[in-house]
Symmetry: D2
């Protein structure tokens, strides 16, 4: 966390939020670094026991913590497949076995790499709006 | 809204929140009734273009509006199927065609009827903790 | 938590959410009671280091946990003073010393008692819409 | 919105969320630009009728819309005064007349300018972690 430019932060969804262990990490281990790690670029991912089980809310809670630490957080506009996106983080029910979920995880990671390249390394050719890669719309 | 005891409020997920038309309904049509409809029991449901597309956040925004109006809001603990629940409202991608989603919608509606029966009509026999109906745990 | 009808749940605001200790309580101590405590009535309160410091988001996170456990959650429509309300829970910066904050805490507690009286004990005379108590509008 | 590098997005707090008019702007006017404006840097601000009235939740809803559009969103770690910060956006009750609120608004705007300078214009000297400006801790 001290030297990274970008971060993908994940947690199991527990009671609709990040786990207490992940929360403790930020409340305790990271507290001394608060106001010293501003300006990283970050996104979130989470898995719950079922669809409708709170993964998006868990991602929202992860983003809240990251914003608190001064991070710039983002999601992905594009779709990863016909019925899958990661607008507010990559989410799934149980293990991320199906193709759509895995594509969403890869897309989120790719976007993270792109934003770090564009914003931290000055590689404007990596901007998703200008590079040639296909970006899937809904449906 | 004036005479109901319970309410299931739904909206398409637009940009991760309730639609502007639904918001306008509460901001304008319902504003004169604010502080006059406290104490109804309510829940939320929403559909987006894909999984990970913001349905849980849209339900959260609907619950926020309902809480603002003094409603008591709830979700469902039980699972509706192997991989489907409605912990913070019933959610789906696109039309609610698959069995799990439809079961989640029915379960949320049933729970709404139960809470209204228990809390508004004094029918304690309808409490989900005491009636005989099967309640599915995760998985 | 096992026998209560109503609950006011509070936590310090840590990184914009409930504290890890409070989260652990629900993730661990309360987990065996999940699906066994549905239908309680609950609200939230929180304090942070400063205004704009995340108290409302911390209350939202507490309500998310409560909804996960099947609780019916609420806020207060009325104002507690000229510039203070508790729409989504009672909030303050630092210790709740000033009059407005204390009035908001009392109002939230009163509303909790009223909803429990109305919904759990069948005392419809305690409904805030019908009893004679003054309810402050905004401003 | 088409050519900006950074954006501070504000709305009155209405029912705990952005106003329906602001929502309509994104749902309708901006919809054709979705997937075409990714990668801007943005933050939020809001005012409600009273403290505890939902400003933080309204900022959260603004950030949700911005994330949906592919923006990178942030808050401010530093304090703007003894009891005022803008961790998740700048918030106030009523008009932003008092000194703390105005300082928080200025601090958020300054941070927006800094992130745009650092990330879009390659001016690493503007990074808040390295420039000489005083940054207030809590209290």
């Amino acid at each position: 966390m001290i030297w990274c430019d970008g971060l993908a932060l994940g947690s199991p969804t527990n009671m609709g939020l990040l786990s207490w262990k992940m929360k403790r990490f930020w409340d305790e281990a990271m507290a001394p670094h608060w106001m010293k790690v501003d300006g990283r670029i970050a996104c979130a991912f989470s898995s719950s026991g079922g669809w409708g089980g709170g993964t998006e809310l868990a991602c929202q809670s992860l983003l809240t913590v990251l914003i608190n630490f001064g991070f710039l957080v983002f999601g992905v506009t594009d779709y990863a497949g016909k019925l899958t996106t990661a607008h507010y983080g990559a989410v799934t029910a149980r293990e991320p076995r199906d193709e759509g979920t895995q594509a969403a995880c890869r897309l989120l990671g790719k976007r993270l790499a792109e934003w770090v390249a564009v914003f931290c390394d000055g590689r404007k050719d990596q901007h998703p709006l200008t590079k040639a890669d296909v970006r899937l719309p809904p449906g």
